[in-house]
Amino acid sequence: MPAKFWNGQKAIWETTSIDGLKTMEPDLVIQMYRSMLTIRLFEEKAKQLYQSGEIAGAIHLSIGQEAVAVGVCSALRLDDAVFSTHRGHGHLIAKGGHLPAMMAELMGRQTGCSHGCGGSMHMFEPQVGFMGGNGIVGGGLTLALGAAFAAQYRGLDGIAVVFFGDGAAQQGTFHEALNLAALWKLPYLAVCENNQYAATTPFAAAVPTADIAPRAAGYGIPGIVVDGNDCLAVYRAAAAAVERARAGDGPTLLECKTYRVEPHCGIIADRRPKEELERWGQPDRDPLEHLRREGGLSDSVISAVRHDVEAELETAVAFARGSPYPDPAAFLQEHANT
């Protein structure tokens, strides 16, 4: 359970780096698979709890997009900062988030990773470098500048990563943030999760070009397109960008082509073309299946991992259910400043 007042913001820049994740060891592949599976099962559980009414509000699921979160975060250290979106459960899990605190947050409990104040869109776990989801499309792009700036300011080699959707790339903040990051050579990695839709608007109805990545040229920085459902491809591209950023060579724009399998949000009706949904539903497009095959993971490894993850999730749900709600009277008293 996170401390009530966590005053160690500086700590994330001072933590010893977790190295050894950089070489493509079999362990890493298993770890990636495990992380993706955790996201998948967490989201399925969340969906179920949402439908049954145990989770309130709005939730945006990232099923189908697991490889982006995991590929990128596997290239990061604990002291690198991640800024997320409205669709951020996967990013937090990939960064090392604690499942019980996440589940408790979704259920609005005091033990949640934002003490019940944030919910699905506003999870915070600064201890693992997760600097928050964001309900404003495009909002994270400029916040992440600040974490990158802080690392540069302190002469440390931490970096900041921001995830954002294809829809967010049409916000003014995209432009302002990339320009400033490029200008000041900030250690910044902008990851566009292009899942081809912004709510119900298809990519082509929002963007006059085929890709977002070429916009990087306008700021004199690299723009890269990768298959966002290929976890190792994402990892390799991210690792190169991270190295570049750490070396002081400035930001990268990384566009990951992927697909959102679930509807945009909660119960919103889905009118995407059937054959499109079917095409992306094929096993060869599934990021978990893809990694299983490419990583040569055996059935026994897979089932052991699944067994573990399911148990962890069960514990998390039980923890959340057993946790108290925050106390309204105490909350109001603390904040009754006007």
Partner: protein, 324 residues
Amino acid sequence: MRMLQYIQAINEALHEEMARDASVFVIGEDVDQNGGVFKTTQGLVERFGARRVRGTPISESAFAGLATGAAMSGLRPVVEFMYFDFVSVAMDPLVNQMAKIAGMSGGQLQVPVTVRAQTGARTREAAQHSQSLEAWFLHTPGFKVVMPATSYDAKGLLKSAIRDNGPVLYIENRLLYHETESVPDGEWTTPLGVAEVVREGRDITVVAIGYARKLALAAAQALEGTASVEVIDPRSLAPLDLATILSSVSKTGRLVVVHDAPASCGFGAEIVRRVVAQGFDLLDAEPLVVGSAHVPMPFSPPLEDACLPSTASLTAAIHKIINR
């Protein structure tokens, strides 16, 4: 008479005004996709075509600015903000351009834009999706602001807003979308600047806007026998029908204003300012404002409930000044 949902009322007003005036067009995120997130624009693109029903990229500044420029060129845009909170990414086109161009041009140009924005706390959507920001626009010269709480006014005010020759902010409440009520047949508009006395009473005047109108009526009901509560819904916050409020206060001598926004510099504070300035001697007790707690809205259901005005908190305020 017939039954009409609040959301249908919005949709009908859009259909009718688009049919009536070829210069009216609708613009916003997903407005052309299956009626938009909340289905308020249902059927428009099928009927009026993609030329007049423009789904946009997520670029609120761009489309608020576009609407302003189009209105300067003689069109009548209806702009949709998916959530009221998102005006924060477009305050410059709204406040420094749309609201000021008529004034800065010395009256040469008119800017007939309707800005629709949807609000509504109580849905557990937390701090960035629960704000009711009408006060920002009431503080901004150049804007008219309306907030319908019934199907009748949802339709009548939207039609008036679209026909108005200046910028009008039209604030919807997602908690009311599926409320149904009986409305007249035929056409109607609700004029800007005319309040409705929703319930007559003798002991206290409650001014309630948007969702809070329901709280006021519930409180009035609960207090029956104890106190006779007059409920006024201004409907149009600017221009404001102060006369109706003052005349009520001259009868009751007591005033409470209730709304979802925080009280500090909110609409309630403005009503209090105006009522005391012009009707100080009418008051027998201190006028009060019931608003939300001054905190970023928390997600957790019990916290959110505690932070918002309720029938209970409104009743407590009424008791306080009835029993002083």
